[in-house]
């Protein structure tokens, strides 16, 4: 399991985020922030090679 680190947010931003966490359907503030970071990372990071992705799925019973 991944270890966690702390990152500081300004209090007003954190409060605004906290207000919408539940409404948006997240289970926690952490989950919300992680999702926001992930979404942007997906645009910025390099994708894994297609061959690697396909190799990892090999053997899944449902797929040929």
């Amino acid at each position: 399991m991944a270890s966690k680190v702390s990152v500081k947010l300004s209090k007003p931003l954190c409060d605004r985020a906290r207000n919408v966490v539940e409404k948006a359907g997240y289970s926690s503030l952490e989950e919300f922030i992680e999702h926001a970071v992930e979404r942007d990372l997906a645009k910025l990071e390099q994708s894994e090679s297609k061959d690697d992705l396909i190799r990892k799925m090999k053997g899944l019973g449902y797929l040929e």
């Binding site: 289970s27 992705l53 396909i54």
Partner: protein, 702 residues
């Protein structure tokens, strides 16, 4: 961790080191020489005595410490629980998950008196059909079971997800990222970081909430728990745990016979003859391998297997025990795996089947349990065990590498391992949750459903006709044993995530989209390749891969998106009209009962990752093998000729699961999302508001 427990852990560690050293790391014979202060009884024995003496001393100290700390722990736990035990209705909750146990078959065999323990549970408590998820797939449904939310909030919509930039499908549940930083010394590369594994299932499972309230759980093999998350309890990962080669399970097959064609789900290699012996290399992670030699045995159906100087007897049709292998991945590093071998024939050809190289629970290359040593503990207590997500090798049977009996034999061995873990967990739980999912039920039904389907012609049907019934009877036995642990303070739930039906015909919706002008292939491409290869994205408006989803090529979301967001609703409505009641002209049957708009069935922050439409196939139909991997074929329908003949990737209304409880459940339509809030309620915890399931209401006693 409290200070005292750190001290205790350190003490245990020291003892551990001593014992492990003395045991030659647990592989060699269990003795070495030492401790000559006790020399007059022989030095080896001296150390053994010393070791065992130390063990006793340390255990006494540890238990004394534990008893000294106990009152303080109890106080602390009471603070954490904030008097919730007062409100708790139970001391213990048991979830016995039987993946894919079908309500129609269960009801039929209960009525015929073949499942006495299920019947007893129904009479003494209650029985309901359990509403499943869209789509009714194990990763989706069990994630909803754990979190009490719809897939829009837990992010698992299928086995597969896609990379929106490259359209490359990927596993939806976990992502293993390789080591990215190395220290280079001359020609050697030392990894500076560890390979990271990320769990893609979002939201929060009920056991974490229980843990925060000081209620411990043992979670065994519940799907989508790889990598394991930290919480107050013990967990063994399941579905989506890879093998050592990084795949979801690929077997190896060696034979002196003809090479045969390429095969799915595994690799085939010829043996090399060397005198009397046959030699081959068993591939491990990356480019590593282990040399194995097969030499003649005493009888015709026997051979001897040699690996690294150790030998095992091979007999046709008999699996070896788990054999631990070491793959050298570098000068100072190695990865350990476990395999079973099965000699499948000796005449005319010598053929040897090897299970996927699974992660060794005693030395896991990737985290498979919480705490990390829990897998080691289980292996030391009960023996080694299959760790792969989908351990029953369905592809080996599909490909004819092993036969039905060998597949069943393998499933039974795995079932026995899991049962041992489950009942050991029950033995060790006085309060808290024990949840265990057995997936033998799912795998065996997938492979043997053809024998239940009267409309299919199957060869050798008589011998295997009763396999599924025997499977249900066997689960009845497990239920009977579990009932012994369910006293008045225990809530027992026996449940399945979905039911089952036949899989006779495959539907390739990419072919239908191609034929109807929603999908285009690149110039000069007659038929697409696997994983959406050959598609002309500049003209394509919709595509499919995975088991039930249809995706729009949406501008602003997909890298080469075409459909403007404002046109999406119209396009979806159009597809729903055209595909609902899609007719299979060859059989005259309806193949798709409903097409669901994901906006209507999912809500939550991860809905963007969901397919835009979910196909509700009619019983007998499913996404074809080619469509599941995103191939664009020319024909929309095809026969399913594989052994994999039962499935549940159909309309959720067709394949509900089952829910048995040892108390009366007052609910007319319980769903799998209701169990997480229910277990919280049973322990006196108010479910968080983001959970969607409704707590099941129990009738008053009597």
């Amino acid at each position: 961790m409290t200070r005292q427990s750190s001290v205790r852990a350190a003490a245990l560690l020291v003892l551990w080191a001593a014992i492990v050293l003395w045991h030659g790391h647990g592989h060699g014979p269990a003795t070495q020489h030492g401790a000559p202060r006790l020399a007059y009884i022989g030095p080896g024995a001296g150390f053994a005595f010393l070791g065992s003496f130390l063990t006793v001393v340390i255990s006494v100290v540890a238990s004394l410490l534990s008893f000294l700390i106990w009152p303080f722990r109890i106080l602390w736990l009471a603070v954490l629980r904030r008097g919730r035990f007062g409100k708790a209705q139970v001391k213990k909750v048991i979830f016995l998950g039987l993946d894919g146990l079908d309500p129609k078959l269960t009801e039929r065999w209960m009525d015929e008196g073949k499942l006495p323990n299920f019947s007893r549970l129904r009479e003494q408590g209650s029985y309901h059909r359990l509403r499943t998820t869209f789509p009714p797939l194990s990763p989706v449904a069990w994630s909803t079971f754990s979190t009490g939310v719809n897939p829009g909030k837990h992010n698992i919509f299928d086995f597969l997800n896609r990379d929106l930039r490259t359209y490359a499908p990927e596993l939806s549940s976990a992502k293993v990222r390789p080591v990215t930083r190395f220290l280079k010394i001359g020609k050697w590369k030392l990894p500076l970081t560890k390979a990271s594994v990320e769990l893609r299932r979002k939201s929060e499972p009920f056991w974490k909430i229980l843990g925060r309230n000081a209620i411990g759980s043992t979670i065994l093999r519940v799907p989508i728990t790889f990598p394991p998350e930290a919480f107050d309890g013990r967990m063994l990962s399941a579905m989506s745990t890879p093998d050592l080669r990084g795949t979801q399970g690929s077997f190896t097959y060696f034979s002196t016979g003809p090479d045969g064609s390429a095969c799915e789900g595994g690799v085939r290699f010829p043996f090399t003859a060397s005198g009397d012996a046959l030699e081959a290399r068993l591939p491990g992670p990356e480019t590593t391998s282990v040399v194995l030699r097969v030499t003649p045995g005493q009888h015709a159906g026997e051979r001897r297997l040699e690996i690294d100087g150790a030998t095992w007897a091979l007999r046709v049709g008999e699996y070896t025990p788990w054999i631990r292998l070491r793959f050298s991945t570098g000068r100072w590093s190695s990865a350990r795996g476990i395999v079973r071998f099965l000699l499948t024939s000796t005449d005319p050809d010598v053929s040897l089947y090897v299970t996927p190289v699974e992660i060794d629970p005693e030395n896991p290359a990737l985290p498979i349990s919480h705490p990390g040593y829990y897998a080691l503990y289980l292996a030391k207590l009960l023996g080694s065990f299959a760790t792969l997500g989908m351990a029953e090798d369905t592809w080996a049977l599909n490909e004819g590498v092993i036969d039905e009996d060998a597949f069943l034999g393998q499933s039974k061995l795995i079932q026995a391992e899991r049962e041992a873990m489950f009942f050991s967990a029950l033995e060790h739980t006085r309060r808290g949750v024990v949840a265990c999912v057995f997936d033998t039920t799912d795998r065996v039904q997938h492979m043997f459903y053809r024998y239940l389907d009267a409309s299919r012609k199957t060869s050798g049907g008589s011998r295997h006709a009763g396999v599924i019934e025997a499977l249900y009877r066997d689960m009845d036995r497990v239920v009977g044993r579990t009932l012994e642990y369910a006293d008045g303070n225990t809530a027992l739930f026996v449940l399945s995530d979905h039911g089952f039906c036949s899989f006779r015909r495959g539907v390739n919706l990419n072919a239908w989209l191609l034929r109807n002008g929603y999908l285009f292939l690149s110039e000069g491409v007659a038929e697409g390749g696997a994983y959406l290869a050959g598609i002309d994205w500049s003209r394509t408006r919709a595509y499919t891969f995975g088991l039930s989803g249809l995706y729009l090529n949406l501008r602003g979301r997909e890298a080469q998106g075409l459909v403007a967001p404002e046109e999406a609703a119209t396009l979806k409505a159009e597809l729903i009209v055209r595909l609902t009641n899609l007719l299979d002209a060859e059989t005259g049957e309806v193949a798709i009962q409903h097409l669901y708009d994901s906006e209507a069935i999912y809500s939550g922050p991860y809905r963007d990752a969901a397919p835009d439409l979910i196909a509700g196939y009619a019983p007998g139909y499913r996404a074809s093998w080619s469509a599941a991997v995103g191939t664009v074929t020319n024909s929309v329908f095809e026969d399913n000729t594989k052994c994999w003949s039962g499935d549940h990737c159909v309309d959720p209304s067709v394949v509900p699961g089952v829910l048995f409880a040892n108390r009366r459940v007052e609910s007319d339509n319980p769903g799998i999302e209701d169990l997480a809030p229910t277990v919280l309620q049973l322990f006196g915890i108010t479910p968080p508001r983001w959970m969607e399931g409704k707590t099941l209401v129990f009738a008053a006693a009597g």
